[in-house]
Amino acid sequence: MAELVMAAATPHNPLLWRAMRDPMPDDLAAVAGNFARIRDTISELGVDVLVVVGTDHIRQFFFDHAPAFVVGKAAQYHGTYENEVRTFGMEYVELAGHPELAEAIAGRELLPEAIDFAVSHEWRLDHGFVIPLQYLRPELDLPIVPIHTNATLPPLPSPRRFAVLGEHLRETIAAWETDARVALITSGHMATDVGGPRQFAGSPDPEFDADAVAWMRDGDLEGAVDGCRFDRVMAAGNVTYQYVNVITALAAMGGRPADLAEATESRFASSPFFMWRKPA
């Protein structure tokens, strides 16, 4: 059977792409170091395939069709949008998919009982997926199953649904009849405001950030679900709901305390870094 050997959560701040370069600025050294720590773990554990849970930034999905959870079933993905090249200096990338695992997750004829997924066979991935992959696996040589979670176009799935997603991923991978070693990567941020009155002025809600680290450090799944009520999360910044993706990783790892749990300070708002290794 396949094995879920690790889960991790990282930021996807596209402003890092220009700023985090050698010689490494002092304030970004810790961010670069945490990316490297997760990157090294992926290599060390011999990961074969990455399940990447992130949120499309209103590029592929818009208010004309805004599904809650989308599983990518494509064999290939293009990555990066024109505006991301213009604004952030990002690069266009090509990524291999993993249709077999995607189908195990989303179902073939019938959706699984756990979640009414949508599936996509043609999906250009934005920085929410591309940035973590470029730092965690610069070779971009591992096949991925991208899963979009709607955290930007209300109505949003409740935090409990993100936990159910994590449990579903754990059970699906455990039942998948291969010897593949799977890593779950979730992409998001801590308290963050973009386009609102508190944007780009440090963390808009350090108290939320402290709680959000503690839920993972302590393995407090119920605390995380309860603490991520819509009104509370939106009060922490208008795009903070992408933090909720981390709940999927916590649930996938059985709700146990993370081995790494940190909101890393830099010139940008605090960056989430969480990691769980499967116990030896």
């Binding site: 209103i58 818009f62 004309d64 024109e82 930007t152 973009v194 386009g195 609102g196 780009f200």
Partner: protein, 115 residues
């Protein structure tokens, strides 16, 4: 109020370098051409409608007005960033735009942007 259409217009501009260039060159002309360029009954739906107030806010590149009208904040910031990037240079840069934008939208507080 047609928040959905505000968001649709911003996204149509911001995602395309060509559209950004044409909007920056002639905001009012671009908005009016966009409104006139929607779908027809025999094509996949592509409706385009803005109230006069919304149309004028886009013609004036008025981020405070668009914010107050319920533009999606994430789309609005990136739309405004795209519309002003050509101005960056000596004396006015990205950080100045950030500060100006924040000061202008702050008086409106939280606006319900859900269409």
């Amino acid at each position: 109020m047609t928040k959905y259409m505000i968001d649709k217009f911003m996204r149509a501009v911001e995602m395309s370098d060509d559209a950004v260039s044409r909007y920056v060159a002639d905001p009012a002309g671009f908005v009016d051409a966009w409104l006139a360029g929607g779908g027809t009954p025999d094509l996949p739906t592509d409706d385009r409608v803005l109230t006069p107030e919304e149309r004028d806010a886009f013609a004036a590149v008025d981020h405070a007005a668009l914010y107050a009208l319920g533009a999606h904040p994430y789309l609005l910031w990136h739309f405004i960033e795209a519309a002003h990037t050509h101005e960056f240079g000596d004396g006015f840069g990205w950080r100045d735009l950030v500060e100006r934008y924040r000061a202008d939208v702050a008086p409106h507080g939280h606006v319900d942007y859900i269409p």
